[in-house]
């Protein structure tokens, strides 16, 4: 015990010295999650945000890909002690280590995406996933010919339920009688990787008549999207724009603008406009939305586009209130 204590004290001491010597240099830093910088999803969007900042301002930033969970605290400490600010970490898996390190470096600014860390120097960025899901649900209902659409998610978890609940609300706004098949792949975090079971779940929904499937299940989601593409039906991606995965079979993607969150954090610090606390990005802030690009241009008619824009404006204006599953852990529709 005593050795461990000494080591901690020593590490702290070294960190203090390092801060003192490099305090003048404040470069923003981004530490990717275990999935890696080029995961075609969450982390790659964060990287895109950092690049946006670099292009707009000409300033550099530092970055790091961690290899395993045990490096989290160490990596945060290293950047903070080098004088980087703000240090941005995407992903709720960072919440615990950040809570520890943020207290050790009260003068450094940190930002976390998808989780709340209640420290005076931390900005927590959340998204209104339910609003973006509402829009893709509406699109799915307009596209569906069978009157049945599907939602495939990893497991019973409030964040994932918020996606699904928003999706159903959006679909019902278009067609009050539409049937929404709602399936979980597994029972724990392993389900985010179980792409084969996700495929089976997708096939099962297609066999029950679904012709649009919204997959919110991390890497496993691709299994369900693949099943939809193989059957000539439509899939809806999540987090980043996944329309390019199966051109012609991807109706749209519910994007979370992680890039905007990262670039905003960097820019605010540069302009001296940093704010700590919880920030929630919804449709109004363009933090979430339905992705439109060359890959799905042929699938979305002008009529659908008009209707979706109308719904978006109504949500922004507060005329439609999209229920957030996380607020009371239940969904008013099913």
């Amino acid at each position: 015990m005593s050795i461990k204590k000494h080591m901690t004290a020593l590490a702290g001491g070294i960190a203090m010295v390092a801060v003192a010597s490099t305090a003048a240099f404040a470069e923003p830093a981004l530490i990717y999650d275990a999935a890696g910088k080029f995961d075609k999803s969450f982390n790659e969007m964060a990287f895109g945000g950092a690049e946006m900042y670099k292009e707009a301002t000409g300033n550099e930033y530092s970055e790091l890909e961690i290899q395993e969970d045990s490096q989290r605290e160490q990596a945060l400490r290293r950047f903070a002690s080098r004088g980087a600010s703000p240090v941005v970490v995407p992903g709720f898996t960072w919440a615990e280590p950040l809570n520890v390190v943020a207290q050790e470096f009260p003068d450094t600014h940190f930002a976390i995406i998808d989780a709340v860390v209640e420290q005076p120097n931390v900005r927590s960025v959340l998204f209104k996933e339910q609003e973006g899901s509402f829009l893709v649900g509406a699109l799915a209902a307009m596209k569906s010919e069978t009157g049945t659409i599907g939602y495939v998610t990893a497991f019973d978890f409030p964040l994932l339920q918020a996606f699904g609940c928003g999706y159903i609300q959006g679909a019902r706004a278009i067609n009050p009688d539409i049937e929404v098949l709602y399936n979980f792949i597994g029972t724990d975090f392993a389900a985010f990787n179980d792409v084969n079971t996700a495929g089976e779940v997708g096939i099962s929904q297609l066999e029950r008549g679904a012709d649009v499937i919204y997959a919110a299940a991390g890497a496993a989601g691709e299994g369900a999207l693949q099943a939809a593409a193989d059957a000539g039906k439509y899939g809806i991606g999540v987090d980043s724009n996944q329309n390019y995965l199966f051109p012609g079979n991807m109706l749209t993607s519910m994007v979370k603008r992680v890039d905007v969150a990262v670039s905003d954090a960097f820019t605010d610090e540069m302009n001296g406009e940093w704010t700590s606390g919880v920030e929630v990005l919804g449709l109004a802030e363009e933090g979430v939305g339905a992705a439109m690009d060359e890959y799905n241009a042929d699938l979305i008619t002008d009529e659908m586009m008009t209707k979706v824009n109308e719904l978006r404006d109504q949500i922004i204006a507060g005329e439609i209130e999209v229920h957030d599953y996380r607020s009371d852990n239940s969904c008013p529709v099913s």
């Binding site: 075609k40 979980f184 029972t187 792409v195 084969n196 079971t197 495929g199 089976e200 691709e222």
Partner: protein, 323 residues
């Protein structure tokens, strides 16, 4: 649920059972020869990665299958070396291989493809496509029930599914009607007897573990290039361990192993299908209860119907010649 729904669930059960079946039969060879194989999971994962990577680079699912088998055999040979030559603890060797596969696949995938530990998506010839058996469409249209079973359940799978089910009678024949099978069983029960008769215990175990490698390779390739269309981090999700449970459940016998794997496949297919379905009288059952169903039924079946599972007598013990 009508007749065609039941057929669809059974169809899904078959697809879900195939990787379990490959791995269970693979484990059967190794364990019958007296070498515990807890590393089935790692071999499946290693093969799944090798198959997807090779198929992505070369454009051929068959080359992918070959690469998967080669990688799986290499891993099996490491296990054989540790268990036979080094007389090491077989559980430790197997667990080590599982960890090795879990780490190395992701590191290599990241280094080669830069896609966050996944391989690129496979399409066309990079995957094993489904095969329609002759007269499937005619049978479905003209013959009630049987025709539908033939067209939906038996026809329309990929080649690896048929190979998996073909491996069952072959394994049964090899194990119980050939000299090799007799010796493998004998070496698992009483290696001293074989040694006294002038046969090499080590060589026999190497041969059995080699077959284990081939079958695991096919199972891994099925996951990433036939059922799925890319490798993803830890995509086996415990299937190797479930296969090992199925093997014990089946008391180390091939036909019983097939039925056990089909049962496990059926339970997961039912579970997927029953989520959010309204039952007569009961109404909608909470999804957690439905998801727990396969596990609950497994425990009941294991505890109630299997009886004693007696493993090969010398399993797990390295053979040491008396001096």
């Amino acid at each position: 649920m009508d007749f065609s729904d039941i057929i669809l669930v059974l169809d899904s059960s078959v697809r879900l059972a195939v990787p379990l079946l490959f791995a269970a039969l693979a484990g059967l060879y190794s364990e019958r020869s007296g070498v515990v194989d807890i590393g089935l999971e790692g071999k499946l994962l290693g093969a799944a990665f090798a198959a997807a990577a090779a198929a992505a680079v070369t454009g051929s699912a068959w080359i992918g299958l070959g690469a998967g088998i080669v990688v799986s055999i290499s891993m099996a040979m490491i296990h054989a070396f540790a268990s036979v030559n080094m007389r090491g603890n077989q559980i430790i060797s197997g667990v080590a291989l599982n960890f090795l596969a879990l780490g190395v696949t992701v590191v290599l995938a990241e280094a080669w493809f830069r896609r966050g530990g996944n391989t690129p998506n496979l399409s066309g010839d990079q995957r094993f496509g489904s095969i329609d058996l002759p007269f499937a469409a005619e049978a479905q249209a003209n013959i009630p029930f049987v025709g539908e079973i033939y067209a939906q359940l038996i026809s329309g799978h990929n080649i690896l599914v048929y190979l998996a089910f073909l491996a069952v009678p072959i394994t049964a024949y090899v194990m119980f009607h050939t000299r090799f099978g007799l010796r493998v069983r004998a070496v698992g029960e009483n290696p001293t007897a074989l040694d006294t008769a002038g046969m090499s215990v080590g060589w026999l175990r190497y041969q059995a573990i080699f077959v284990t490698g081939i079958l695991c390779g096919a199972g891994g390739a099925y996951l990433s290039t036939a059922q799925g269309a890319s490798f993803t981090d830890n995509m086996t999700a415990g299937r190797g361990f479930i296969a090992l449970a199925a093997l014990i459940f089946a008391k180390w016998r091939p036909w019983q192993a097939m039925f056990t794997c089909l049962l496990f496949g059926f339970l997961s297919a039912m579970q997927i299908r029953l989520q959010g379905v309204e039952f007569p009288l009961i109404g909608e059952v909470p999804v957690q209860a439905i998801q727990a169903l396969p596990y609950i039924l497994t425990v009941i079946l294991l505890a109630g119907f299997v009886g004693r599972a007696i493993p090969p007598k010398s399993i797990g013990q390295p053979y040491v010649k008396e001096r």
